[in-house]
């Protein structure tokens, strides 16, 4: 896999505040990578540095091997889809989509062909003569996408382009975007704060926090094997049990917590006995269990979500343990019942306690 984008030791300071701390990252050609994080984590700054709207305080940016750190946005082989489209309000859809080609000096007939092709790609044939204010939010974002793709950028950058749309439309656009990316075989770098969006669309997710990429990997990797408490909390819901390492034997770590000692498959660096660690287990891996139950407590909450039910169980005064499953799995359970819960040993992950 050749690298489409290489971020090499990039730092960014805004006055006294640090937006990015030495980020090193690569995006492969043809990859769909999401930069995922809460607002203010530096994800948009990183995207704007790749696009050329911000210059890094330190470090280099390369695109397909070429150092573009000092190039202005108009000379970079990237195009950006803006959060709110940023369509030119005084131009028609057709003129918007063709603008980049016109600037490049293409002939009118060639521009027209290309614009038709792009409008077909985003399924907006027949919308060419509309003005931007005659478009719905979803249509406007499709035009923005067509405009950015028209000049065949080597890397397409997307800055939360779906965040202003309502849920149904957003889900539909997620699938469409993914399909378009697959069809073109293009490299997409997608910024979002929505973990579901990132999981659905990406080949790879880079999770950012406080100006750093804290973990990157496939959606499955990140969901199943979070490397920190922050990541396990950020991607999906999780149950955390803090404790100390009691013993390590045969590839298993025994963690002594307030609700008993639990065995966890050992991963990563070897642990010392007595070290403070955290056990993380996803609610959907937790089952009602008679025999072999690991924890037990009093049911305090039952939340009906239609397809699923979430049951909260108080293990000790500070810990509510969540189980999630199909409606019928929790038949006959009521608030105030004492329940025993269990999970498959390899569903649990051991994490360093990073205080989040």
């Amino acid at each position: 896999m050749t690298a489409a984008v290489e971020i090499i030791g990039v730092r960014k300071l805004f006055g006294a505040t640090t937006a990015l701390e030495r980020v090193d990252f690569e995006v492969g050609a043809g990859e769909f990578v999401s930069l995922l994080g809460a607002s203010g984590c530096g994800k948009s700054t990183l995207l704007r540095i790749i696009a050329g709207f911000e210059s890094p305080s330190e470090g280099r940016v390369r695109i397909h091997g070429e150092d573009v750190t000092n190039l202005p946005p108009e000379r970079r082989p990237t195009n950006l889809v803006f959060q709110r489209g940023a369509l030119f309000p005084h131009m028609t859809v057709r003129e918007n989509v063709g603008y980049g080609l016109k600037v490049k000096g293409w002939e009118r007939t060639r521009i027209n062909d290309r614009v038709d092709e792009m409008l077909a790609l985003v399924r907006l044939e027949g919308f060419g003569d509309r003005e931007p204010d005659q478009l719905s939010g979803g249509q406007a974002q499709r035009v923005a996408l067509a405009r950015a793709l028209a000049s065949e950028p080597q890397v397409l950058l997307l800055d939360e382009p779906l965040s202003a749309l309502d849920l149904k439309l957003r889900q539909q656009m997620q699938l469409e975007l993914r399909a378009i990316q697959k069809r073109l075989g293009a490299t997409f770098v997608f910024v979002t704060h929505d973990q579901t969006e990132a999981l659905v669309m990406s080949d790879r997710i880079a999770i950012m926090n406080n100006g750093r990429i804290v973990q990157h990997g496939t959606p499955r990797d990140i969901y199943r094997r979070p490397k920190s408490v922050f990541v396990s909390n950020f991607i999906g819901a999780t149950n955390l049990l803090r404790g100390t390492v009691a013993s390590v034997e045969n590839g298993r770590t025994f963690l002594q917590t307030g609700s008993g000692t639990h065995a966890i498959p050992a991963t990563g660096s070897p642990l010392r006995v007595g070290q403070l660690m955290v056990l993380s287990v996803r609610p959907e891996a937790v089952r009602l269990q008679g025999e072999g139950a690991r924890v037990s407590g009093l049911v305090t909450e039952i939340i009906y979500q239609g397809n699923n039910v979430r049951v909260g169980t108080r293990l000790d005064p500070d810990t509510i343990f969540w189980a999630e499953g199909r409606d019928d799995e929790f038949d006959g359970i009521a608030v105030g019942d004492t329940v025993a819960l269990g999970w498959a040993e390899d569903a649990a992950t051991i994490l360093e306690d990073d205080g989040t």
Binding site: G52, F53, N79, L80, F82, F88, G100, V103, R147
Partner: protein
């Protein structure tokens, strides 16, 4: 009682409106009447005073001078004010931005008398003869704050991401300005320039201190009035009024098209 409670506010509003518009109405009406004196009842209607006014070489020269000043104010104030306001909204530091905006609006509340005298003293100090040039400099100074104010109000809703989009699609900064910025802010700039022209057309105080022997319409009218009321003055005032009303209305219409 009930009837009175309804009538009183209506009567008060009518009174205020009459107070605001009666003098203007009187001038307009008497510019069309045959009697040389302001008297009722009206004896007959005529356009003679208009013909009189435009036949008077003093008046046509004053009109030409006023138009020159108005055009200079429109072009210079419009361009300078727009550029300044545009630069202002791109400033990153809010404090600096607010301070500069206030500073640029201050001349609007300095009494015109002070500005007029200060300019006169300054021009004398640097050895510039009183005349149209001095008056033009004064007019630009007086209208500039209003241009900055209207442009600033419009630009606050300007979406700068469209400029970034243009750059991103390959346009150089000057190309982006030509293709995107200019078409989008043009209506606001024209509106503001027309406002500057309107302010210039009826400017008297600063003009009077700086224009020297030259005449503009307001200065000439003031001079004619000292020699008694000539109904031609009503005609001139009515023409001036119509031009100003047209300019202000046009400026409002153009400005109402929002900068998207």
């Amino acid at each position: 009682m009930v009837a009175l409670r309804k009538i009183l506010p209506a009567a008060f509003v009518s009174l205020v409106v009459a107070y605001l518009y009666a003098p203007i109405a009187v001038i307009v009406i008497f510019s069309f009447t045959t009697s040389p004196r302001l008297s009722m009842p009206i004896e007959g209607l005529t356009l003679a005073w208009y013909a009189n006014a435009f036949a008077n070489p003093l008046i046509s020269t004053a009109l030409r001078n006023s138009l020159i000043l108005a055009i200079i104010s429109a072009v210079l104030s419009g361009a300078m004010g727009a550029a300044f306001a545009f630069w202002l909204v791109t400033l990153k530091r809010a404090r600096v931005q607010a301070t500069l905006l206030t500073a640029s609006l201050m001349p609007a509340i300095v009494p015109l008398l002070v500005i007029g005298i200060a300019l006169a003293v300054f021009f004398r100090g640097v050895g510039m003869q009183q005349g149209l040039l001095n008056a033009a400099i004064g007019h630009v100074l007086v209208s500039l704050p209003f241009v900055v104010l209207t442009m600033n109000a419009r630009l606050e809703t300007f979406d700068f991401s469209v400029l970034e989009a243009a750059r991103d699609l390959g346009a150089t900064p000057s190309r982006a300005f030509r293709d995107i910025t200019l078409p989008l802010i043009r209506p606001s700039v024209i509106g503001a320039a027309m406002l500057a022209a309107a302010l210039s057309l009826d400017e008297f105080v600063v003009t009077w201190f700086n224009v020297g022997n030259q005449q503009t319409v307001p200065v000439l009218v003031w001079g004619l009035m000292r020699r008694g009321i000539d109904p031609s003055i009503n005609a001139i005032a009515t023409v001036l009024l119509s031009v100003l009303v047209c300019l202000v209305i046009a400026s409002n219409i153009i400005n109402r098209k929002k900068v998207k």
